[in-house]
């Protein structure tokens, strides 16, 4: 049946974009356990930087992406040392408020510097053509995102499960004091991890921009979407976010194929069902 293969192909590729734009959040919120509503803000900064680099400064797409992600990681590092060190100790509600305040400042800055209209990122001509898979066509851009998503997932898995850094990070988030007393430099680990999360946000923002276009109000427009992926996947689980993103991508796409007029309702009802049956998400730890 073409419909089913269509749903699967479109669903997986959309799910991969959901994963790419929310994987940074599953690092800061899932692993580090801070309600980080500023995630979309970092994605916005990355996207805005990439917009400026590709359209105004005239750099190529790849160079721009690298520069944009790197600068967001530096900004994140500075913010982590200045604002987030205290946020870690806040209550959940205070974290919500603090990170939303930071988001507002990011939005206001981009709004002031680049205006409130869409900030397009110029991609190579090659990526904006359709590619023929034999039985149907798919935008080349989608294919690139799917590959980038798989690579990112694999790299994160390797980093967290197979390296010393990953071991220390997991020790630090499980029990920060204990880890510190064992001689792990938790301050540094936290700073690096947070910066990594922000960098991933920027990377996802740039790659996903064809689908979720960047503009100053990006963080507020898609905040719920990012949160849904992490909540459904389960706090503390990157793998959970991965499977949740794919599942949500397929569900949302199926809804658009079958009952487009009820698309949004379908999506949220599905989310409520999952969260009612599994309050800690698909792979969440209790």
């Amino acid at each position: 049946m073409p419909a089913i293969s269509g749903i699967l192909i479109d669903g997986v590729s959309y799910g991969m974009i959901l994963f790419m734009i929310s994987v940074g959040l599953s690092v800061t919120m899932g692993l580090m356990r801070i309600i980080n509503l500023a995630h979309g803000g970092f994605a916005l900064l990355g996207g805005a930087a990439a917009h400026w680099l590709t359209t105004i400064a005239g750099f190529g797409f790849v160079i721009s992406t690298i520069l944009a992600v790197a600068s967001v990681m530096i900004i994140a590092m500075v913010l982590e040392r200045s604002l987030y060190t205290r946020i870690y100790r806040f209550t959940e509600l205070q974290q919500v408020l603090a990170t939303i305040g930071i988001t507002f400042l990011m939005i206001a800055s981009v709004n002031l510097l680049l205006g409130s209209t869409i900030l397009p990122i110029r991609v190579p001509e090659l990526l904006s053509r359709p590619i023929d898979l034999g039985f149907r066509t798919l935008p080349t851009h989608r294919l690139m995102v799917v590959i980038a998503g798989l690579l990112t997932a694999a790299a994160l898995y390797y980093l967290l499960e197979r390296t010393w850094f990953g071991v220390r990070l997991r020790a630090a988030v499980d029990n920060r004091n204990m880890a510190a007393s064992l001689g792990i430099n938790t301050v540094k680990i936290y700073a690096i991890t947070f910066s990594l999360g922000a960098g991933l946000a920027a990377f996802g923002g740039i790659l996903g921009a064809e689908l979720l276009p960047i503009d100053a109000y990006y963080p507020l427009r898609y905040m719920v979407l990012f949160l849904v992926v992490v909540a459904v996947g389960g706090m503390g689980s990157i793998a959970g976010s991965f499977f949740a993103a794919i599942a949500l991508g397929i569900i949302d796409t199926a809804a658009r194929y079958i009952v487009p007029e009820y698309g949004t309702i379908f999506f949220f009802v599905a989310m409520m069902l999952v969260l009612t049956l599994r309050p800690n998400g698909m792979l969440g730890r209790t």
């Binding site: 269509g6 209209t117 869409i118 110029r122 989608r142 064809e210 689908l211 503009d215 007029e261 949004t264």
Partner: protein, 390 residues
């Protein structure tokens, strides 16, 4: 309490009576309500620029009266906030006229207010047909969805397009556009193969593209809000090879001049029907663009600009004719005709809505390589609002 209320109400009435009977030759204030903050802030900016262009070209005086514009921020769709702003403008700032309004619910929220307070209100955008029926004091020199959609369907039929798929964003304006296109197209003999209502929050159009391609129509008629949805749809339209398959894109306001650049070459050749293109070929429009460039370098002229510019014109004519004696203002401009940057227009004396040409345009590059909406055909001249039952 009851007595107190009565006294206060009486006091209020006296104050208002004074405001209403103010002498001629004084400053007449106009309150402009529009989004100046949030995701829709571009609207307020476009409005303000265009009003300033009009003032720069015509002076601060309308007849013997000095005109003063007061701008207020409504944010997005927010009827309760808009209504209280209008109240404040009328009661505190003593404005005699209102203008602006981007969103339908915001415009509708002031209808009872302006009806009671007798404040002529010029709508710069809000395009749902029914608005003008809700108060005798509304005048609308913008456009309505029916007004631009019906000509699109007629043109498509004339081009030999026999089958179409309709894909609209699932909310009020989208539903109106769907009905307008379907009614007209089917009446002419065209066949609507499928009609898709896409969720407002969607920016992943891949699945809809697949569904449209499977039907293989001559054309796809779309209605999408300007901004992220239009942007993502056009990208998707190209990336999924619809253009290559020969499915023609038909739309209305999707190729908005403020976001056209963002679309890049993906937009080239897309056809829309609309009442104004920033590239309209006339001296009036060239003069408008020239002053706009002086006031706000780099700003693009779009539907918001022309709506506000003509709005300012209507306001000036009302003020010139009656000053602050606002009860007679609407009657003074009914049936008025003038040359707008969009071409010749007039106000329908029955509906107080603008009568205008609707142009068929396609996206092309001008001599500087900038993307523009190139007008190349007029299917209907002097179109009234076709969405109001007569």
């Amino acid at each position: 309490m009851k007595k107190l209320l009565r006294t206060l109400a009486a006091a209020g009435t006296i104050v208002l009576a004074f405001a209403g009977s103010a002498a001629a030759d004084h400053t007449v204030k106009v309150g402009v309500i529009a989004p100046f903050s949030g995701p829709f802030a571009i609207w307020g900016k476009q409005f303000k620029n265009a009003v300033e262009v009009y003032v720069a070209q015509n002076g601060k005086k309308a007849g013997t009266h000095t005109v003063e514009f007061i701008y207020k921020d409504s944010g997005g769709p927010n009827p309760s906030g808009t209504k209280s702003l209008a109240q404040e403008l009328i009661v505190r700032d003593k404005v005699d006229y209102l203008g602006g309004f981007v969103f339908t619910p915001n415009a509708l929220s002031v209808a009872p207010l302006i009806q009671k307070a007798k404040v002529p209100t010029v709508i710069f955008n809000a395009a749902t047909s029914i608005i003008v029926k809700k108060s005798d004091y509304f005048v609308r020199p913008s456009f309505s969805l029916w007004q631009v959609t019906v000509p699109m369907a007629e043109w498509a039929w004339k081009q030999g397009i026999k089958t179409a798929v309709i894909a609209v964003t699932d909310y009020g304006p989208g539903n109106d556009a769907e009905v307008a296109f379907r009614t007209t197209f089917e009446k002419l003999g065209g066949k609507v193969l499928d009609a898709i209502r896409m969720p407002l929050s969607t920016t992943d159009f891949g699945p809809f593209m697949q569904r449209i391609k499977d039907k293989n129509p001559n054309a796809v008629f779309v209605f999408l809000p300007a901004g992220p949805p239009s942007f993502a749809f056009v990208k998707s339209y190209n990336e999924n090879g619809m253009k290559a398959q020969g499915i023609q894109f038909l739309g209305t306001g999707e190729m908005d001049e403020t976001t056209l650049d963002a679309l890049g070459d993906a937009a080239l050749g897309l056809t829309t029907a609309y009442h104004y293109s920033g590239a309209h070929d006339s001296d009036k429009n060239r003069a408008f663009l020239k002053t706009l460039e002086e006031i706000s370098p780099g700003a693009a002229a779009n539907l918001a600009s022309v709506g506000a510019y003509d709005g300012a014109h209507v306001l000036y004519q009302m003020i010139k004719a009656v000053g602050s004696d606002r009860t007679k203002a609407v009657a003074a401009v009914k049936g008025m005709a003038w040359e707008s940057p969009r071409g010749p227009v007039s106000l329908d004396p029955d509906t107080r809505h603008i009568i205008q040409n609707v142009y068929i345009r396609r996206v092309a590059k001008d001599e500087n390589g900038k993307l523009i909406n190139q007008e190349f055909d007029i299917i209907r001249k002097a179109v009234p609002d076709l969405g109001l039952p007569n």
